[in-house]
Symmetry: C2
Subunit: 488 residues, 2 copies
C-alpha cells in the first residue's frame, strides 16, 4: 500500500516553502512527471486535458477572427534562421541542433524550432504577391524547444513546451494593431473566464521585448513566491521580418510594399501559473471550466447497502449529467472502486483538484439528500435531492470565487515605490513594485546590471506618470509607470 | 493576373500521369507546399483542417474506449532508445540526431522521436506497480521525424509527419487483443465513414511487421498508380518492450509479471491516400464529412442586380445553416468577392474539392430556385427553393457514392495469381495480387531479393488456402492468402 501512504502524506506548506510545495504537488497530483530527458517533462493526462481545454477555448475564438490553423516543419535550416539579426541573436544560445540523420552528417545544421518565424516567412514570401492575398492569418498548435540552462521548473521553465504561435500579415499597421488588441483580449478572456486568473496587460520594455519585434505586449502574473510569470503575449513586428524574408505585395495602386506583421502565443506555462495561484496545501484546486472532472460522486457502502447506494449514486449522476448538459464522459464520475477506502478517495480527489465532491451514504439516502464538498473553500454541506440544480450554481460560484481571489491576490500585492530602496524592499516582501521609469535602454541596462534578478515586467497601459515625475533610477523625466518583479 | 492563369490551367491526366497529377494537385489546390527543409512539407490550412477532422473523429472514439491523451518529450536519449534491439535496428538508420544545444555539445546524443516507445516505457516502468494500475491506455497526437532517403512524396512519404501514437499496457494478452481489434475497427470506421475509403484489413508478414512487435495489423489501400499505401496500424508487442524497459506489476496473487502491450497509429499519410483515390483531373474531390467547406454559394450579379442576388444568397445560406445544423462558420460560405469572375470561382472550388456549389443568378431568383453543381459527378441541375432540404440528402449521397466508388476500385483491382509470372504481370498492370504463400521468413527474404519493389502487404484474415494449396514462390505448403503490391 505504498501508494495509499503517498496520497495521505501532507504536502509541504505553500507559503513558507513554495518551491518544494509546487514540485511535489505537480508530481503527486499526477499532472506531470520528470522524464529521461533533463529539463523536459511528461504531460500526464490531467495536465494534457487542461491544455486541450485551453486550446479549444482559444481556438474557437481565433476561428471567429478568421485565423486558420496550419503546420510547418519542426526544423529550420541554419542559414534561413539567421536572416533576421536580432531574432537569431535572441534565440541562438538556446537552439537544439540536428547535425546527423542516421549515419549521415547533414550538409547544413537544422535548428529544432524555438519559434517558427524563419520557416513560416520563407513561405509567406512565396505566397503573398498582391493585396488580394492579405490579410494572411495563420496559426500553429505545436511543440517548441528552447534549451534553457537555468534550473527547470515544471510548466514554468522547461526545454520543450506546447503553445500556439500565430503569425499574421497585413497591408497596413492599423489593421495589424486592431487584430493584435483583439487577440490580446481573447487571451485575457480565456485567462480570466476559463482559468480564473487575473494578470496585468501591458507593454514590454526595450530589453524585454521579443527578439525581432517593434513592440511586445503581454499579460503578467504574480505567483505566491513573489516571482512574476509572463503569460500570453503578442508582438507587433512592423516590417522587420518582412524586410529580412522579403515579404512584399503590390497594393491597389500597383506599388510594391512590405507587409506589416504580428505574432502571438499562449503556452503550457499557463498550466503552471494556474496551479501555483489557485492550489493549496491539500492539493490542486482547478476552476470548474478547466477541470476535466468537475464532479466526483463517492458512494459509501458495505455489503448490505452496496446495491442501494450505487443505485442512488447512478440516479444522482444521471440527473447531474442532464443539468449540466455536458457530453464529456469524464465530467461527472462515480468512483465505486472497492479496493480503496472513502477516506483515501477524498484525499485523492482533493489532491487532484476536482471542484465538487458528492458523498453518498445510507444516511443521505434516508434523508433524500447528498453531502457536498466544495474543493475551493473546503466546506461540506448537505443539499436535498430535489435541489440538485444548486450544484450547477455552485460550479459557477467556485469559478467566480477563484477569479475574485486571484484578482485580490494580485491587486493586494502590487506596491507603488518611490526609490530603489523601496523597490528592493517590496521585491524582498514578494510583491510586484510599480515605479516611474524613464524607459530608456541605457537606464534599463543599468538596472539589469545593478538589480540582477529584478526586471521590468510591463509598462502600465492605463496609468501615466505626472508631468514632474522622475524615473526612480536615473532621475530623468519619467515616461511611464512600470511594474517590476523577479521573474521566471 | 498570374494567379487566375494558374487556376484555369489544366492538371496533368490522373491515369496516364499519376505522379505529376498528384504533385501538381497538392500544390495548386493549396493543400500543401514544399518547405525550406528537404522532404518536409507545409500543411496549409486546407490539409490541416482535414487532419483536425480526422483527429476529432478518432479522438472521440478513443475516449469512449478509455484512452487518455498525454504528451511525452520530443527527444529520446540514445542509450534509452537502444534497449529493445529489434526496435532500434528498425529505426536507427532514419533517426535525426540532436548533438548540440546552443554552443554546447551534449554529453549524449538525443534522437528526435521517430516513435515514442522508448521514452514512454521508461515512465510506464515507474508508474505501473500493481494490477490496480492496469490497464494503462495513453495516446499522443504529435509530430515524428523519420529521415527517409527515398524520394519524398507529399503526405505519402516525408521526413516529418503528424499522427496519433497509442500505447496501452494490460495484465493479459486477451484484454490486449480485444482492445487491439476495437481500435482497428475505430480506424476502419473513420476510414470508411468519414474519409470514404475502402482498404484491406490484414496481418503483416514477418519482415513487414513493426520493429519490436510480435504481430502487426494494418489497413492497406491501393492507389490509382498501382502502389499500395499502408494506412492505420496496430501492433501486439507481447512482453517484448516490457522486458526491455522492465514494465512489470504484482498481480492479484502477488506474482510479479510483465505487462502485455499494444500500440496503434493513424497518420497524415491518410490525407494523401484520400486525395489520390477520390480526386480527378479537375482537382480535389473531398467527401462532405471531411471537407471544411461543404457548400459554396456563388452569387452572379452586375451593378443592377447585386443587392437582389446577395440578399437571395444570404437567405439560401441561412436556410442551409439551419438544415445542416452545422456550427462551423466555414462549412457553408458565400463567395461574393468582386475581383474574381464567377468562372474563376467555379474553377477554384473545383480545384479545392468543395462537394457542392450553388450558383445564384437573376434567373434562379425569378424561378425561385438555385443551380446546384455536384463535385463528385460534375452534374449540374436546378432545385426549387422550397426543396432546399434535398441538399442535405445530396451531401449524404456524395459521401456514399465516393465510398462505393473507392470500394469498387479496390475490389476490381485485386487479382488472384497462381505463379510468379502472373504475379509480375498483375503488378505491371497496376493491380494488387492475391497469392498463396508459405509465410516463412526465408521465402519472404527470397522474394525481397528477387522481386525488388513487390512486397507482401497483408495476410488475408477472411480467406485461407485449401488443404493442398502450395506457396507460389517455393512450392511448399501454403499457410495463408497474402496480398502483394509495390508500395510507398
Amino acid at each position: 500500500m505504498e501508494k495509499q501512504q503517498n496520497i495521505k502524506q501532507k504536502l509541504p506548506d505553500k507559503f513558507s516553502n513554495f518551491s518544494e510545495w509546487y514540485q511535489q504537488l505537480i508530481l503527486r497530483s499526477g499532472l506531470a512527471d520528470y522524464s529521461s530527458v533533463s529539463g523536459c517533462i511528461v504531460y500526464r493526462p490531467l495536465a494534457y486535458a487542461i491544455w486541450e481545454k485551453i486550446m479549444q477555448e482559444v481556438d474557437k475564438r481565433f476561428k471567429q477572427l478568421g485565423i486558420k490553423n496550419c503546420y510547418f516543419p519542426l526544423f529550420i535550416p541554419e542559414k534561413l534562421f539567421e536572416k533576421e539579426a536580432e531574432h537569431i541573436a535572441g534565440f541562438k544560445p538556446e537552439v537544439a541542433w540536428v547535425t546527423h540523420a542516421g549515419d549521415t552528417k547533414l550538409a547544413e545544421r537544422l535548428a529544432v524550432r524555438p519559434t517558427s518565424e524563419a520557416i513560416m516567412y520563407a513561405s509567406y514570401s512565396k505566397w503573398i504577391r498582391s493585396w488580394r492575398d492579405l490579410p494572411l492569418k495563420l496559426n500553429q498548435w505545436n511543440n517548441v524547444v528552447r534549451w534553457e540552462f537555468k534550473h527547470p521548473v515544471p510548466f514554468l521553465r522547461g526545454r520543450e513546451f506546447l503553445w500556439n504561435e500565430g503569425h499574421n500579415a497585413y497591408a497596413t499597421e492599423k489593421e495589424a494593431m486592431e487584430d493584435l488588441w483583439k487577440i490580446l483580449n481573447i487571451y485575457k478572456d480565456v485567462c480570466e473566464n476559463i482559468l480564473a486568473l487575473y494578470g496585468i496587460v501591458g507593454k514590454k520594455t526595450e530589453l524585454e521585448k521579443f527578439a525581432g519585434a517593434v513592440s511586445s505586449y503581454a499579460i503578467e502574473f504574480l505567483l505566491p513566491n513573489g516571482k512574476a510569470a509572463q503569460g500570453p503575449d503578442a508582438h507587433f513586428d512592423g516590417e522587420n521580418f518582412a524586410k529580412a524574408y522579403d515579404i512584399c505585395f503590390l497594393d491597389q495602386q500597383q506599388q510594391k510594399r512590405y507587409v506589416q506583421q504580428i505574432t502571438y502565443a499562449i503556452s503550457t506555462r499557463m498550466i503552471g501559473v494556474m496551479v501555483a495561484i489557485h492550489s493549496d496545501n491539500h492539493g490542486l484546486v482547478l476552476p470548474p471550466k478547466v477541470a476535466p472532472t468537475k464532479i466526483v460522486i463517492i458512494p459509501i457502502f458495505d455489503k448490505q447497502t452496496k446495491q442501494n447506494v450505487l443505485d442512488y449514486a447512478k440516479q444522482v449522476k444521471s440527473e447531474l449529467v442532464k443539468l449540466l448538459s455536458n457530453s464529456d464522459s469524464d465530467a461527472i464520475i462515480i468512483d465505486d472502486r472497492e479496493q480503496y477506502t472513502p477516506g483515501y478517495k477524498f484525499n485523492e480527489y482533493e489532491l487532484k483538484g476536482v471542484p465538487v465532491r458528492i458523498e453518498i451514504g445510507m444516511r443521505d439516502i434516508e434523508q433524500e439528500s447528498v453531502t457536498v464538498f466544495r474543493r475551493d473553500t473546503l466546506e461540506r454541506f448537505t443539499i436535498k435531492l430535489s435541489q440538485l440544480s444548486k450544484i450547477k450554481e455552485l460550479l459557477d460560484e467556485i469559478q467566480k470565487n477563484l477569479f475574485e481571489k486571484a484578482k485580490q491576490f494580485l491587486l493586494s500585492n502590487v506596491v507603488t515605490v518611490n526609490n530603489i530602496d523601496e523597490l528592493k524592499q517590496a521585491i524582498a516582501n514578494k510583491k510586484m513594485a510599480k515605479a516611474n521609469f524613464c524607459c530608456t535602454k541605457e537606464c534599463e541596462q543599468n538596472i539589469a546590471e545593478q538589480l540582477e534578478a529584478i526586471t521590468p515586467r510591463v509598462i502600465a497601459l492605463d496609468e501615466k506618470p505626472n508631468e514632474n515625475d522622475k524615473c526612480i533610477f536615473c532621475g530623468k523625466k519619467a515616461q511611464a509607470v512600470v511594474y517590476f518583479a523577479r521573474s521566471y
